[in-house]
Subunit: 161 residues, 2 copies
């Protein structure tokens, strides 16, 4: 989707992105087929959506059902990447890209924390997404608040300031 | 850092990642130069760390100081990407990659929520990171809990189930 510059918005001149490669590991299924219909912010009491993994990864989700909330990363692939100052209200007032949760940002990565009411046929059903149907999935992991590391302690665990 | 397979861990055969390109927008400065010294999990009362943007983006952070907490995305670039089942305790018991917050995951992207006590000379100082010094920065944005969209309403905002 093109994003025409609004009054006072600013961009940066960017060389092609090249520092790291992302692999999409699946797709997100939501009720919104048009970006203009998406909620602007996730709602934990929102619509039923599905987090579908590609076949390569379908063996992997063992254990996710131990968590009631899950964090999902996805690619907001209809946005531009070069805006430094954005005008969300198109009124000439701008905020820095890193002071917004706008989908318009250099690496197009969105994150949501969502409720995980159930897993059906290996597919997590969630509430709390606001992205469009078919959005590329980058990652999913337990919500940090519910997660306790399983690995042995490391020195930094007990380091004090 | 190589990750030798532990008992019962499983991998998937992957073609090179190619779906999306990530641009690193800066570096994270932390006290930990060796991965083995990092805390396994972020601590909101943890050490002072810095989120440094590359020169291209240094004009952009306007407005971040309105938030007491900030979300940061970064690349855990010392990990392997192909593990489907991991054994955090090296004891033969495994969990699926997507049921862990392990740095070993397909797209190597870590997320942290951290306290933002101050910005000095345009550089946010934060507490709550656990990654190594020099970790590539992918994004930073206000914590979702503190953020209210600035943009006009969209139909999905008021959609009910």
């Amino acid at each position: 989707m093109p994003h025409d510059l609004r009054e006072n918005e600013q961009i940066v001149q960017l060389a092609p992105a090249s520092d790291g490669l992302v692999r999409f590991i699946g797709r997100i299924r939501t009720p919104w087929t048009d970006r203009a219909d998406c909620p602007r912010q996730e709602r934990i009491d929102g619509h039923d959506c599905r987090i579908e993994l590609d076949p390569d990864w379908q063996d992997a989700p063992d254990g996710l059902d131990a968590y009631g909330t899950v964090e999902v990363l996805y690619r907001m692939d209809q946005s531009r990447r070069d805006l430094t100052h954005q005008s969300p209200r198109s009124d000439g007032c701008t905020l820095g890209t890193f002071a917004l949760r706008s989908p318009t940002r250099p690496d197009l990565i969105g994150t949501s924390i969502m409720r995980l009411p159930r897993i059906e046929g290996g597919v997590p059903h969630v509430q709390g997404l606001n992205c469009g149907d078919g959005t590329p999935l980058i990652d999913r992991k337990p919500d940090r608040c519910a997660f306790t590391p399983n690995a042995p302690e490391q020195p930094g665990d007990i380091q004090t300031v």
